[in-house]
């Protein structure tokens, strides 16, 4: 195979026309030859900037060097030292703004495709039956740590603590472990059985106990975990909370959903399958409001369920918060982007079923505090998009459950739990990370926080003696 060192080795993808009708994975991943070839583009920098670009600081040049040699097991071992969920991260991390943004190759050409290589290593290791193992020199600490939420931050924190010798139990509110990886991100981006369930199994293989159907704040409080259940520290990784709505007329009509509800039905409950016993609305024409990754997931799900899909976003393409790759994939699949457009009212028939979404055109004004140019309505530019479903993807506000049932836990004005540099909250022995702290963010940032909290918990418990 000829290689243009300035360009990434391309990866095979399902044809857009075909994949828009199924829920199989879009990106098919590198073959071994492709992976070795891509790995050969890595310059193995001594002062590797990519490592600093990674929220969990994977030793990227070291694992890529192993791929170059064809040593997948070795590469997996390197990654496992830093990441509990490589098959997930290789798929859903925004590498273009993290590790790959730092790559020296990116100055003259395209960065090394670190994400695809990570995925290749994780998937191949899985096929080879390789599991992460506890360090040989690990000493049992005989201390119990509770982790609330089996999402990216919780699984990472739990895995790291188990490797340090702690006795870790994760309490998960849903019936399945994985958090946003199972309820939020669709099958076609992140296969549930093949990838997420296996990563969860790997965390369990480190000795972590996962209790599902356990809502902390209700079934047990954080006080109970300390006083009755004998835990010495608690990590709160309960994720983001209630979906936001626009508070426009007609929003209670039948056919208006939050992206969280729509995606949870499809992903966690498997409603995309005809055999599912959980219902989902199969819209003919759906309007997705918002421009983030969740909006892209909802749009691409609606498309696969048979709808003509319009993404309505109030700013322009340059401001879309979604990853460029997601937007690109969505466009390839035939999703229509109505940019600089904002809904003002949802129209429904006499039985309250949605028949349309009244929108107004927007134009960009002066940059606001966040540096983004804020959109302003163009007077008199209202128009109607006929549709039978509107899916609101406007982000979430924090879940009040843990805060209201735990004394001494302070939150900021947006409701996020306040933590210090060790991820400890205002309550001694209680740590937190992920969306519960930051508000809606990415899987990898949550993992980074989980990792940092594991370190913080270890320091805290070691000093306590």
């Amino acid at each position: 195979m000829e290689v243009d060192v300035l360009k990434k080795v391309p990866v095979s993808e399902q044809d857009p026309k075909i994949r828009a009708t199924n829920f199989d994975e879009v990106n098919l991943g590198y073959t071994k030859d492709e992976a070795v070839l891509e790995a050969s583009r890595c310059l193995t920098c001594k002062n590797a900037r990519c490592i600093n670009g990674c929220p969990v600081n994977i030793n990227i040049p070291a694992f890529i060097a192993k791929v170059k040699e064809g040593d997948v097991a070795g590469a997996y071992e390197v990654i496992s030292q830093s990441s509990a969920l490589p098959a997930v991260c290789g798929r859903v991390c925004p590498q273009e703004t993290q590790c790959e943004a730092q790559c020296i190759r990116g100055i003259k050409g395209e960065a090394v495709s670190i994400g695809r290589l990570e995925r290749f290593v994780a998937d191949t290791a899985k096929e080879m039956g390789i599991k992460p193992s506890l360090p040989a020199d690990m000493v049992k600490k005989n201390k119990k740590v509770a982790v609330i939420g089996a999402g990216p931050s919780g699984l990472t924190c739990a895995g790291d603590l188990a490797k340090m010798g702690y006795d870790v139990t994760i309490f998960e509110a849903l019936h399945k472990a994985g958090g946003v990886l199972v309820y939020g991100i669709p099958e076609f981006r992140l296969p549930k059985e093949k990838v997420v369930a296996k990563e969860v199994e790997n965390v369990k293989a480190l000795g972590v106990n996962i209790v599902t159907d356990a809502v902390i704040g209700r079934a047990l409080t954080i006080d109970d975990l300390f006083e009755k259940e004998g835990f010495s520290a608690v990590f709160v990784g309960s994720g983001a909370g209630l979906p936001r709505f626009m508070n426009i007329p007609g929003e209670q009509s039948l056919g208006v959903f939050s992206a969280n509800e729509y995606l949870t039905r499809s992903n966690l409950m498997g409603a995309f399958s005809e055999d599912s016993r959980t219902p989902i609305m199969r819209a003919k024409k759906a309007v997705i409001v918002g421009g983030g990754n969740v909006a892209m997931d909802a749009a691409r799900t609606a498309k696969r369920l048979g709808a003509e899909v319009h993404v309505v976003y109030r700013r322009s393409e340059a401001e879309l918060p979604a990853r460029v790759e997601e937007v690109h994939h969505a466009k390839e699949e035939g999703i229509i982007f109505d940019l600089l457009t904002n809904p003002v009212e949802i129209i429904a028939d006499e039985n309250s079923w949605v028949t349309g979404c009244k929108c107004i055109r927007m134009e960009l004004g002066e940059p606001d505090a966040s540096g983004r140019r804020s959109p302003v309505e163009v007077p008199g530019s209202e128009f109607l998009i006929e549709c039978d479903a509107v899916i609101m993807s406007l982000g979430t506000s924090p879940n009040p459950l843990i805060k209201t049932t735990t004394s001494g836990l302070e939150t900021n004005k947006r409701g996020g739990i306040i933590v210090n540099e060790s991820e400890m909250t205002t309550r001694e022995g209680v740590f937190a990370g992920g969306d519960a702290v930051t508000g809606a963010a990415t899987v990898i940032l949550a993992m980074g926080a989980g990792k940092s909290a594991a370190k913080g918990i270890d320091e805290y418990l070691s000093n306590k003696g």
């Binding site: 509110a173 849903l174 019936h175 309820y183 599902t212 159907d213 356990a214 809502v215 209700r218 079934a219 047990l220 994720g239 983001a240 909370g241 209630l242 979906p243 709505f245 508070n247 929003e251 209670q252 039948l254 959903f257 939050s258 969280n260 509800e261 949870t264 039905r265 966690l268 409950m269 498997g270 055999d275 599912s276 016993r277 959980t278 219902p279 609305m281 039985n351 309250s352 879940n399 009040p400 459950l401």
Partner: protein
């Protein structure tokens, strides 16, 4: 976990089950609910808690078979296990936070309709155990649909029955019964209504007219039940509230019941198809062609 240890049929379509669920039984309070999944492919179904035994780790659920999932649940027997039971969910009733002495001074009326009797029983039992005696109107279309009669009698001061067809107790619905009591000079200063949405709507119209502050318990569409998906939203006093974390109990004078009834119809077509498929089994695709 989640083993069924007792099962009874309370009416034509109404079932009673005692289930091992220590995490729920350990903390459940009157007013809260739980979510069950019948099996690994099951939908998540919210149900009110009828009773709990903290020591034995057992919760009691009472439900009507209104769709395919509850129909499946009703086919489980003693010794079978649910795939999942999670809870307690939602906020406990505001009544349990009031000082007992204050509760004793109040003249409280409960109005229970259909399987709404189950969550009412849970509250009545708690009040009774704390020495607070209250009245209750229990309503149903007909006598056969009145459930838990003996249990309800044991925990109320006065228990009145109302049947639409006059087959038992007062002839008429719960509003007719309340008006009759009111006309007889019986007065209340707090009312809790739990039952079908249409019943709660009309009961609240009446209590508002009579000036009795009223609390209702809403049973909306839900998925996770923990404040994540937003499926359970409803309008209370013109504001969007989430039944699973802000409720399930709300000020009955402020709830938009018409909107709640509309939202409850969202998946009726899909649910109807699933029910037919379950009941008709292999003969389901027999040729009507509607859902081929």
């Amino acid at each position: 976990m989640f083993e069924i240890v007792a099962k009874k049929q309370l009416g034509t379509n109404v079932w009673y089950m005692e289930v091992v669920a220590p995490l729920v039984a350990g903390k459940a309070m009157p007013g809260q609910f739980l979510i069950v999944r019948a099996d690994e492919e099951g939908e998540r179904i919210p149900l009110t808690v009828c009773d709990y035994d903290r020591e034995k780790g057992i919760v009691t659920i009472v439900y009507a078979t209104v769709g395919a999932e509850t129909e499946r649940m009703s086919r489980l027997n003693v010794g079978d296990r649910f795939a999942d039971i999670v809870g307690p969910l939602g906020r406990p009733s505001d009544l349990v936070d009031l000082p007992i002495e204050e509760l004793k001074k109040k003249k409280i009326l409960f109005i229970a309709g259909g399987v709404g009797t189950a969550p009412v029983y849970n509250q009545l039992k708690w009040l009774h155990e704390n020495g607070v005696e209250v009245d209750c109107i229990q309503g149903a279309r007909t006598k056969d649909l009145l459930i838990l009669e003996d249990e309800m009698k044991a925990v109320t001061k006065n228990l009145y029955f109302a049947t639409d067809d006059g087959s038992y107790g007062i002839h008429g619905n719960v509003c007719v019964a309340l008006q009759q009591l009111w006309d007889e000079g019986i007065r209340y200063d707090h009312c809790v209504v739990i039952g079908p949405v249409i019943m709660m709507k009309f009961a609240c119209q009446l209590t508002k007219k009579l000036g009795i502050p009223t609390v209702v318990s809403m049973n909306t569409i839900m998925v996770d039940g923990t404040g994540m998906c937003g499926a359970c939203r409803l309008l209370v006093g013109g504001e969007v509230k989430f039944c699973c974390v802000d409720g399930p109990e709300f000020d009955g004078w402020e709830v938009d019941f018409d909107q709640a009834m509309q939202r409850s119809r969202l998946y009726k077509t899909e649910e109807g198809r699933l029910m037919l498929k379950l009941k008709e089994g292999d003969t389901h695709h027999g040729g009507c062609g509607v859902c081929s």
